[in-house]
Amino acid sequence: MKRLLAILAVLLAAAWNVQAADEQAPSEGAAQKGGKVFSVYTDSKSPDNHYIPSGWMGDFGDISMDDKYMGEPHSGSTSIKFVYTAKKTQNQGWAGVFWQNPANNWGSKKGGFDLTGLNKLTFWAKGAKGGEIIDKFSVGGIKGTYPDSTEVSMGPVELTTQWQPYSINLAGKDLSYVNGAFNWVVNADSNPSGATFFIDDIKFEYDPALKPEGSKSQEMPFYVYADKGSIQNHFIPSGWMGDYSDLKIDQGVAENPYFGKTCVKVTYGNKASNGARWAGMYWQQPANNWGGVDAGFDLSKAKQVTFWARGEKGGERIEEFKIGGIMGEFSDSDTAGIGPVVLEKEWKQYTIDLQGKDLSYVIGGFAWASNLDVNPDGCVFYLDEIKYE
């Protein structure tokens, strides 16, 4: 009898161990096909964690991180606390962190995980004060020899002081190789005093009811520029053309904006430093996208683009103001513009008619171009309230 009980006890213990083993996180590199949850961060040192928040970007000197922060986590005993100082330590004006596998893998090593079978990333976030603006939260996007198989972003997000759930829809996306599991990006213009925020319970999940996210038609008005750092802003004035060395832009000029707190000041010098004798600037989505990244906005609801402009002296001639027109693998779906325009010293509103235009895919949100033949001394001009409506 005793022997029988002992055998039974051994069998029960063995069964218990097998079950426990099944509940352990898969080893690194193992495929996770068909799994329902794949954690990035639950608690500090949790065996469920995958990926390491090692990829610090931009003004990385402005970032500090505590992944064992115990003050009011969303769940469990800890959350991750990030402090961004906005001091532009590396002169970039922005900063961010990538979770990578293995650590510091910018695409040069084979790593990552196969997350096929999962279709969304969820996480919780809050700000220390509320109002902290996160430019974007993303999944994937690391390039290199072993690039991520997808890149999906959401944002901008304005945090509150309460834990809020966030989700990135990955339905229909290729998750066969994900090295850069999660990342956030902030910038100094949107957070001039810095930002302290918390993230918890980051995980990939499967939701059987989730459908792939089609291109969302944006609501109007859709701002290109409202004010410096405004959460309403879209597109980045990153596409400098022609004599780009002769260009300067200041998006936070507080003197005499048309509306709000600031306006944009563009300075075009007359040195023809790059030999072109013309120059221009594109507001792009994302930055520096000349048609190589599939990331356009659907602005089909827009009937026109309006903006306010004035010249420093009056008489500055801008050959063209336009939207769209970037051509690449993922080209703008259309283009529209006005010009030439001779600016006045006082603010004046201009309109680009969009009737009949296909605005289903826009990466070149706004642009201007001019040349030294019509502005022999170069020119300085101001822009404000650039929006689709």
């Binding site: 000349w290 048609g291 080209s331 779906s333 259309d334 006005i338 030439p340 001779v342 009949g356 296909d358």
Partner: protein
């Protein structure tokens, strides 16, 4: 009594005869009038038909005709743009015509005939009679006039008009003529960026945008005047107005309503974007893409790349067919396309350097991001003007290779795009929607 009746009968005889004769004449005349009324007006040889659903179809000799064309400028290696190929005793069109026919090309575009219109007539005739290939005959409308095309000058316009109508008179009777093409990218001159022109009247307007609009109005009105004249003397062939992209066509809708077809020059990579629906919204005329294509030199890898050229051309033809009449998911306003171009032209990179005419330059003249496969070339300069042919020229002294077609001057060697488009044209429906 009986004698009276006989007399009365004899009296009626001649009147009855007159009546019957009159009746016969009347019936004959009535038949003639009826036949004339029932007879349809003679059909134009080439015209555009508007279908019930509003889509457009080009009709040639009563049948739908999809333009499967090439821009044709057979300048031999070692020669430049002013080479008079029309009078070339080697007659390159006889070799090219045969190759074109094998491919399925049904039309060639000439930008302008040479001075010798009789020579042009012979070329048109031979291409059609021997190979069934029709001609789209163009005219620059003086755009390359030195120092500028002064479209606001009545004397300039008169000279251009006389030259054009002389051409029309000389060539209109050719069976192989398809349509006339007026201008090319002349609209780029409105903003002053290309071949700037103006006049005192225009400059007085002051505002640069008003000046631009005035130039557009002047030019399009002139084109309309020419179109009407051509219609008067040659009702059998439509008039196509060349235009770079859709720029300023909203003004053309107002000032050039009598053109029959819009011919656009488009270089947008693998897609024409919104051009078909955009034209419907701007200037609702049928559309022929009179110039489009891709070069076969990869400026990034610095080598010939036939796959790259074929990739873009196949995609472009797919979009053309998607927008023909009868296609369920297009604009229904496209009549076909004309690829740039049939053969490479070795003079194009630097037309003023005779030493360069015998060398196929690999330097790039311009950049276009929509041809993204080699956009990472140095300074993004990826468009190679001397490499746009779907048939390449092979110098006479080069080693012979399989697939080359001997020609008297330069051998022809079709590129991959030649074969890919040939196969596409054979079965465009399947090729557009291949089974997975």
């Amino acid at each position: 009594m009986i004698e009276d009746r006989r007399q009365r009968t004899e009296d009626r005889g001649p009147r009855r005869h007159d009546f019957r004769r009159g009746l016969r004449v009347f019936c004959l005349l009535l038949s003639v009038f009826c036949l004339l009324g029932m007879a349809k007006a003679p059909k134009k040889k080439v015209y555009v038909k508007t279908l019930k659903d509003g889509s457009y179809q080009l009709m040639v000799q009563g049948r739908p005709f999809v333009v499967k064309g090439v821009c044709y400028n057979p300048i031999p290696i070692g020669k430049s743009h002013d080479h008079d190929f029309w009078n070339d005793p080697e007659k390159p069109w006889l070799v090219d015509g045969a190759l074109m026919k094998k491919m399925g090309v049904n039309a060639v575009r000439f930008y302008q005939p040479g001075e010798d219109l009789e020579a042009a007539r012979r070329v048109i005739a031979e291409l059609y009679q021997k190979f069934g290939i029709r001609t789209m005959m163009g005219h620059w409308l003086g755009f390359w006039n030195y120092p500028a095309p002064f479209y606001d000058d009545p004397e300039f316009r008169k000279k251009v008009k006389e030259d054009l109508l002389r051409t029309v008179e000389a060539l209109k009777g050719e069976e192989g003529l398809l349509f006339w093409v007026l201008g090319n990218e002349n609209n780029y001159s409105f903003s002053g960026k290309v071949n700037p022109w103006t006049s005192e009247r225009i400059e007085k307007l002051g505002d640069p945008r008003q000046c631009m609009l005035a130039r557009a109005q002047t030019y399009y009105s002139f084109v309309n005047e020419l179109a009407r004249e051509i219609h008067r003397i040659d009702p059998d062939h439509p008039v196509v107005m060349g235009n770079g992209e859709l720029i300023c066509l909203d003004l053309a809708s107002e000032f050039a309503p009598d053109v029959d077809i819009v011919g656009c020059i488009i270089y947008r990579g693998k897609t024409f974007g919104n051009i078909f629906k955009g034209l419907r919204n701007t200037f609702d005329k049928p559309l022929v893409l009179i110039e489009f294509g891709a070069d076969a030199y990869n400026a990034q890898d610095k080598k010939e790349d036939e796959d790259m050229q074929a990739f873009f051309l196949k995609s472009q033809w797919g979009e053309i067919y998607k927008n023909l009449a009868g296609s369920p998911d297009g604009a229904g306003n496209c009549l076909g396309g004309v690829m740039f171009e049939w053969t490479d032209e070795w003079w194009k990179h630097n037309e003023w350097d005779p030493a360069g005419w015998s060398v196929q330059d690999t330097a790039s003249n311009w950049s276009n991001g929509s041809y993204y496969l080699d956009i990472q070339a140095e300074r993004n300069m990826n468009m190679n003007e001397e490499w746009f042919g779907i048939v390449k020229l092979v110098p006479e002294d080069a080693p012979e290779k399989e697939g080359q077609v001997p020609a008297v001057l330069d051998r022809r060697q079709p590129r991959k795009a030649y074969y890919d488009i040939r196969e596409f044209w054979k079965d465009p429906k399947t090729k557009r929607n291949p089974r997975k």
